[in-house]
Amino acid sequence: MSSWPLLSLIIFVPWVGALLLALFGRNLGARSRRALGFGFSCSTLALTILVLMSFDPAAVGYQFVEHHAWITALDVHYHLGLDGLGLLPVMLTGIVSPLCLLASSRIERGAHTFGALFLLLQGAALGVFLALDFFHWFLFWELSLVPAFFLIKLWGGPGAGRAAYQFVIYTLAGGAFLLLGFAALYVATGTLDFAELTRLAATGELSPKVAALGGIWPKAVFLGVFLGLAVKVPLFPFHTWLPSAYAEAPTGVSMFLTGVMSKMGVYGFLRILWPLFPEQLHAAAPCLLGLALGGVVLGAFAAMKQTDLKRMVAYSSINHLSYCLLALFAVASVTQPDAAVAASALSGTLLQMFNHGLSAAALFACVGILEARSGGRRGLVDFGGVRTVAPLFAAFCGVAMFSSLGLPGLNGFVGEFLIFVGVFGLAPWAAAVACLGLLATALFLLTFWQRVFHGPVGAGVASFRDLNRVEFLTLLPLVILMFVLGVLPQLVIALFNPLVTAWAANLP
Amino acid sequence: MSPLQLCLLLSSLLFCVGLVGALARSNTILVLLGVELMLNAANINFIAFWRYGPNPAAGTGVLFVLFAIAVAAAEAAVGLALVIAVYRHQKNIRLQEANRLKG
């Protein structure tokens, strides 16, 4: 079995599903259409489990490598590989995507097109996490925008057109910078392979080559790549597209955007920017640390001001993702940091990436359920006393919320704790300021909870039903995972710890 | 007279029969069929040269004929579809009347 191109299968099986849905979707009944989409979406999880069975966490390098010559003239290779860093988002995609489709099962209009586009999106995202050559990595990166655009625009809320437009233009602009940066890098080195570039950077051959470009190029390369990734994460203050895009997207897509696509940026930072440009990153780190802190604090405070629940949750996403970058920048900002501290910061980043995917997806699913129940309303003051009529829903939403808020015992805590341990050891003042973000997060999430679930039963709320079976099945796996990973984070940490240890041991 | 010459004669006469048919008849279908005959005549030539050529083992002539047959089938399909379209348009299929696009 090990000779199978598992990684290619992971990427392309959803696309096969998309093709099938696009071709035959019209002929199928609603149920089987959904089942088909769901089944193909689940393939990622199944294949990831296959991968996990033969994945060796102790091996630091890439595994399951597929390396074939592709465009020889450009020295482009079809190069896929997996390590602990790639495995996490792939697992996350496997878990979240089927649930997104489940959460979208309310969609009736053009359901098979929706399913096909979604599977396309899923495959593209997986491609980003598995590709090791910039050429097709970038293809997947940009390809993910197309289905996302249509999914937001066609199935989104009232402001979806504008939001989708903004999202795509913004991200495309970032992508253009990224492309520019890599084009320059290619001119300098003659290769686009991440592994090769990383090796060059590690041996110190990269920076003289880039410097040989002359002019502003050495800085521009870094800036270009940085901008492209920063927009995707998004790093404060490049985040303005995010709230509207997340808020206007249909529930399932919001879940996917926040659960998976936002990880693409963080992944890019860890996979590309940090290993390739350690010196530049180090030089820029104090400034970037400030930006990440801005995301942590201002993101949380901006969320407090929102009256639209989805926007609120979207801002909380900005806040949570900024933690990941905070830790990374903190590590980069210090020369020769203590290995243990750096390891905990980086572990925290990875863990937070995974955990945020689960809890943010669950929160969006909950808001989506509220939206569906109330016929599209999602204002902070539109509800009240939902817990009285829908206790089960309240319980699930509460778990998701407390997970997002970093309550110990749920998954969110461990990641944030590790990040704080790391950041405190590297930049204590940043940790202290970031605490403000923690407080604000608690404040707005509890306000959300109080306004929506507590108090007397609001107008129109009395007729709410509790969770139906599909919604229950959507939330249940996420909630179970929150508990399990809160108590046994080792399950995930074991997958990447050797990798992180190796990183921490070889810091510049 | 060698068999090759016989074959070539056959093919050139067939070609000319097709040509005359295509030129003389006003029915578009027959014109098309005349053209088909010309194609067949060319095919006969290919086979003849393959059969008596210097290197029959290569099979180039046979392959060429196969491709030509495929193309001719396509041509016939499109041509006759055009005939039907023309018929629907002008209620007859006289070739000389289909001259709307003349300069």
Binding site: L20, F24, N27, L28, G29, L36 | -
Partner: protein, 410 residues
Amino acid sequence: MSVTAEAGTFLERAPLVLRDAVVQWFPAPLQWLAHHLITIVAILAVFGVFFAFTTVAERKLLGRLQNRLGPNRAGLPWIKGSKLFGLTQPFADAVKALTKEDIVPAAADKLLHFLAPVLVVAFSLMTFAVLPFGRNLIPVELDAALLYFFAAGSATELAIFMAGWASRNKYSLLAAMRALAQVISYELPLMLSVVPVVLVVGSLSTSEIALAQGGWTFGFLPHWHVFTPWGFFGFLLFLVAALAESNRAPFDLPEAESELIAGHLTEYSGFKYALFFMAEYFGLTALSGLGVTLFLGGWQAPFAFLEFIPSYAWFMLKLIGMIGFFIWARGTLLRLRIDQLTRLAWQFMVPLALINLGNAAFWALTSGWSGPLQFVRWGVSIALVVGPFILLGRGLNGGRGPRTYRYATS
């Protein structure tokens, strides 16, 4: 040209020995002619008789299926009370057909009206030339035998058209065109269902295909193509397409007696009609023979210990089985509507046949897999056809729900 058998029991070799013995009597320059003539005569004799008894078998079997008796009266002439279960019915029918008046419409195109039945029988019979009836028992050993088979088969369409047109009866002409539409539509899935076999065996020669299905796993699992996923589905497609090709129920709408008064054959009577009838049965027999050759192992015995039975007997047994199946289908299934018919061909069978072709390619590619991988191979292969089968099957109703009936309310 078949080669004299070197091995096998005497029974196995008997037809060839017999033929060679007869050929010896002719002068040497004419021996090749005698060789072919004998073969042709043998085929005509065997399948003529076979045809005769097929008709009676069909009538009797249909009768049983419809809970009646079928023909059981015709016995031997001059012997009173001899009924022989009605087995001589076909001969009586033949006499009747021969002695009936041959009516030709006044406006008919006399030449074509005559040529049509002759051609149709001739083309049907031509297809028998490449069927391997037994080990080394094939009338003409052709490298491109399958191509030949379909080429000859497709020529019968011409005869159908001629029959319809020559009658100078607009209903006959319309019926002929309907029949042509059907036959052409189903020719595509028929050929596509055969291509996987060619792909896997790597030859167009029927005798090689039959040979390739020899051997047994564990001594009792024959290597027939029908016992592979792609082969099974190919066989099913082949069966349906063959039914439609030979205008048999449930695809007999071109000549539906009850609605169209035999369609393009309306203006035919007497012996010409009998010729069409005969051609239809020959075509059916030939297609069944092809199916047997391609999927059911040809003349191969199903079990190793049954090999002592001569190969041509196996072939004929399988042929009879196939024909029995066709008769059964006729007695069981309802006739389709023309739109259902074409939709089935283009929206269901052609895509499925194409997918099955891909499936066979997968099978051929993975022929090296062994051990547990065999299960994977089977699983994937089955999934490759079952999935599209289900998906495409859903589209067959064309988005329409099941027919609803409204009854008058009092």
